[in-house]
């Protein structure tokens, strides 16, 4: 069998129609990932190198993006901050996807009490607007990045489960599933081997969109002081640490990480919408 | 003449459609007359009616003229056009349920034109609206005024629409499949109502003209004074209604009659083979050639022209048809 990538199967005209904003956003995200991975090589300073003589310096050849109140180099901190700011939403999505996809598939396949439970849990979750459910979990279990990630994972799981359930229900009624059943294959095996893999396109598109949202929410939690805490380096936390300087007229300490968050979220949304449109078409 | 359409041709920009929407359509409606316009969907009958209101499809370019009371609708300024639409011509649509705004009350629908067009004060308009509803035979008109469209049946709604259409006392009524969405008994009631209103106005001397658009040829032949038959954007036959049943000249008209069942008619039903042409079909000659039982090779290159029965010297009001083999058809049916 010859190997063909999916792209090669598409007509040339369709393949070429990748809009410019998607290219720019994708390129930017790739750059951010590279920056996060190679932060130690790229950063001009150690991210926690305090230099009180250079407190709140503006942009200069020494400090390209200026410094914060303790004279720490903002470019270096932003590069290191990309690590936790990108890894945390990844962990949250992994948890939420594992829980949500399992729950959604089981609810769609077996129905019954699992299905009822899912809809009840979702109802309760939806009674808490915005991040309030996560805030409740943090209030009980204490703050910290791990609690935030787990709480957000729990909060996102019912949404993903609901989406998976609706996809799985329509996929379940397709003849090929019946064919496997007739062959005597067990439900769990059909779900894991055939059903879920066939949903993966739509699910991945959905998860990419959720990634931007998750990054935004985690940054908000860090900003409120519930997520990543000092001395770790995180964009949301950097904004909180930098906001006092804004009133003194030094905008960079808050705006550099703030812009980083906004730019990455915008880029993720652009790519996410494109990916889910793309993968959605295959269905 | 109340309505006089002359050589109306409507074209969409190339790419949107391969053939003209309307090709050299000529049609007249006199005061007090009921004129039928018959054709399959896509034949251009609704497009013709909309052109009378100056509502052309987006991007369409028109040639020819559409005169109402001698004034060319296609040349009207926007302000004049709105006055034309609100005073001179009214339209009754196929589905009253979708033609009425579902969130507004029946009363608003009737009083709005009375206040806006005739300038009646609100209270007087409401009283007149009740009168109008009673005149179209709606029971309990005061209560209807406060109801919303979803509370009335289709037949009642169509009566409301007719009442609203006649509220401003227009000269010309365009009934676009006005009874097609109704069930048979309601259809008969609404037709009787339209006839009655027409008669009332004829006696009052105001002379309402009606252009009755339908896909139902026997209905049109039974209900109208004269009938035009359209095919692929073209008028293919025009006759007084009584002649149409007895002596259809164009093969398409004949085909339409042959595929409509009638009581006491033992003839075999014969559907017209093929399908009605779409906007992407092009023709080198007569558009009916592919479906025509009498077509010859020459028909494929013959550009249709309307020929009066009995040749150019024949009597003007006996009718006309656009068929190359008209003489042959006329002879064989005689």
């Amino acid at each position: 069998m010859t190997t063909l990538t999916a792209g090669a199967l598409l007509p040339v005209k369709v393949r070429a129609r990748r809009p410019v904003p998607v290219m720019v956003a994708g390129g930017f995200l790739a750059l951010v990932v590279v920056a996060a991975v190679f932060a130690p090589l790229l950063a001009p300073y150690a991210p926690d190198a305090v230099d009180l003589s250079a407190s709140l310096a503006g942009t200069s050849p020494e400090h390209l993006l200026g410094t914060d109140a303790s004279g720490q180099d903002l470019l270096s901190r932003a590069l290191y901050g990309a690590r936790s700011s990108l890894l945390a939403p990844l962990a949250l999505l992994a948890l939420a996807a594992l829980l949500g996809i399992t729950m959604g598939t089981v609810a769609a396949w077996y129905g019954g009490w699992v299905d009822t439970l899912l809809s009840r849990v979702t109802d309760v979750m939806y009674a808490f607007p915005g991040l309030l459910f996560v805030v409740l979990v943090i209030a009980v279990f204490g703050d910290g990045l791990t609690t935030s990630v787990v709480a957000m994972g729990l909060a996102y799981a019912p949404t993903i489960a609901r989406y998976t359930r609706s996809l799985a229900l329509s996929e379940r009624s397709k003849p090929y599933i019946d064919a496997y059943r007739v062959q005597g294959m067990g439900g769990a095996r059909i779900c894991v081997r055939h059903l879920v893999p066939n949903l993966s396109g739509a699910l991945v598109g959905y998860l990419v969109v959720l990634f931007g949202e998750g990054l935004m929410s985690l940054a908000t939690l860090s900003y409120l002081g519930f997520g990543a805490g000092s001395p770790s380096i995180d964009w949301g936390l950097m904004v909180q640490e930098g906001q006092d300087a804004v009133v003194q007229g030094a905008l960079l300490p808050a705006l550099v990480p703030g812009t980083a968050i906004a730019a990455v979220v915008v880029a993720f949304n652009i790519v996410g919408v494109w990916v889910s449109d793309r993968l959605g078409q295959g269905r | 003449m109340l309505l006089d359409i002359e050589n109306l041709t409507l074209r969409l920009p190339s790419g949107a459609a391969a053939r003209p929407l309307l090709a050299e359509v000529s049609l007249t409606v006199g005061r007090g007359e009921v004129v039928g316009l018959v054709g399959e969907s896509g034949s251009g009958k609704s497009t013709t009616a909309r052109a009378v209101l100056g509502m052309l499809p987006e991007g369409a370019s028109a040639s020819g003229s559409v005169r109402v009371d001698g004034e060319d609708v296609l040349a009207m300024e926007p302000g004049r056009l709105r006055a034309h639409r609100s005073r001179t011509v009214s339209m009754v649509f196929q589905d009253p349920r979708s033609a009425m705004n579902p969130v507004r009350r029946i009363g608003d629908f009737l009083t709005e034109p009375l206040v806006r067009v005739l300038g009646l004060p609100k209270r007087k308009a409401a009283a007149k609206a009740v009168e109008l509803l009673a005149a179209v035979g709606l029971p309990d008109p005061e209560r209807r005024m406060r109801q919303r469209p979803h509370e009335l049946s289709g037949g009642m709604l169509q009566r409301v629409v007719i009442a609203a259409a006649l509220a401003t006392d227009p000269g010309l009524l365009l009934a676009d499949e006005a009874t097609s969405a109704l069930d048979a008994t309601t259809q008969a009631e609404v037709l009787a109502l339209l006839r009655g209103l027409q008669e009332e106005r004829r006696q009052a001397g105001s002379g309402l003209g009606t252009l009755f658009i339908t896909h139902d040829l026997p209905l049109a032949a039974a209900y109208c004074d004269r009938v035009y038959v359209m095919y692929a954007g073209r008028v293919v036959e025009h006759q007084p209604a009584r002649g149409l049943f007895a002596d259809p000249r164009h093969p398409y008209t004949r085909g339409l009659l042959d595929c409509s069942p009638a009581l006491g008619d033992e003839r075999e039903l014969r559907p017209i083979p093929g399908r009605p042409p779409s906007l992407s079909d092009t023709f080198t000659g007569c558009p009916f050639t592919p479906r025509c039982p009498r077509a010859e090779a020459e028909c494929e290159s013959w550009t249709p022209v309307t020929v009066p029965f009995g040749g150019a010297s024949g009597p003007a009001d006996s009718g006309s048809a656009a068929c190359r083999r008209l003489e042959l058809v006329a002879r064989s049916s005689a």
Partner: protein, 316 residues
């Protein structure tokens, strides 16, 4: 029209009951002794103090009894005492609630004027205006509200000096002046949703046959837009505005913190930071009640705006 009302009210109460139980019983989900969590400070925990907390919260009774007592007292306005402020929680919230409500109301004004306005504009003027509105609002939705807050303070507060950076303001005009940037930051993220819903609803209303019929009857485009398009699109627009407004209650947590406003949202943040659990519970309960009640109200109002929708969920 009121057929579905009892069912809706029952649903509302059931949701509130479950949500309040989750909020209350969360204490027991925590590892360790709930008395430790409820006592606030983790230092200087003497056995006497723990016993006092246990007595005050009736921790020795069954969970359901405790919950019933808490619910009953909350319903009567007794929300317990704050450990941090040594004050009645109800008084604490009462003093801060006006700021939060003003903020949400002001943000709703922004939302309606800018969100609905831009949506109408996009629907009426296709082409580049449409693309600009969709692009601009989508961009705004991607910016976290705390980043927007700081950007707004930097630009309009510090650089241009148009708006005050801190404080609450005196008098109506003063408060309005102080709340302008916070309200805008709060509304910014939701603009895209409102704008998109408005644009979509308008487009759908425009495509309906009765608009064509109105045009055939000689109405001007302005009359058509006001009486037939906007009027018919109102249902989804009002519903979405209500839902977003309800959601903004939770959004005040971030915006009040960013602008240093002393409202209920910032109270929640400080209560969590200082482990003041009675205050946390009370604020969460208040926000959930506000959210659920407003969303239910929106559902109930919808059939009044749009007679096509009935409470039973079936179109008539």
């Amino acid at each position: 029209m009121l057929r579905g009302l009892p069912r809706r009210i029952a649903g509302l109460l059931a949701t509130l009951l479950v949500a309040s139980f989750v909020i209350f019983s969360a204490v027991y989900a925590a590892p360790g002794d709930p008395a430790v969590l409820l006592s606030g400070s983790r230092q200087e925990l003497t056995p006497e103090k723990l016993a006092a907390v246990r007595a005050e919260y009736h921790l020795d009774e069954p969970l359901v009894v405790q919950y019933g007592r808490w619910l009953w007292e909350s319903a009567q306005g007794d929300l317990g005492r704050s450990f941090q402020y040594r004050d009645q929680v109800a008084d604490l919230i009462g003093a801060r609630l006006p700021t939060t409500l003003e903020l949400v109301a002001y943000a709703t004004v922004f939302l309606v004027v800018l969100g609905v306005g831009s949506g109408v504009l996009a629907a009426l003027r296709r082409g580049w205006v449409d693309s600009a509105v969709v692009g601009g609002t989508t961009l705004a939705a991607s910016i976290p509200s705390f980043v927007a807050a700081i950007a707004l303070v930097s630009l309009f507060g510090v650089q241009l000096g148009w708006f005050p950076v801190t404080g609450q303001g005196e008098g109506f005009a003063g408060r309005l002046h102080h709340l302008t940037l916070p309200a805008f930051a709060l509304a910014l993220g939701a603009l895209a949703v409102i704008s998109r819903v408005t644009r979509q609803a308008m487009a759908e209303a425009y495509a309906s046959d009765h608009v064509e019929a109105a045009r055939a009857a000689g109405l001007t485009e302005r009359e058509i837009v006001v009486r037939h398009v906007l009027r018919n699109a109102l249902g989804p627009i009002v519903t979405m505005c209500g839902l977003v407004m309800a959601g903004m209650l939770a959004g005040t947590v971030v915006v009040e913190t960013a602008f240093g406003l002393s409202g209920v949202g910032s109270l929640l943040v400080s209560a969590i930071t200082t482990h003041d659990f009675p205050v946390t519970q009370a604020v969460l309960l208040l926000m959930v009640i506000g959210y659920v009640v407003v969303t239910t109200l929106v559902d109930l109002v919808h059939p009044l705006i749009d007679p096509r929708v009935s409470l039973g969920g079936r179109a008539a």
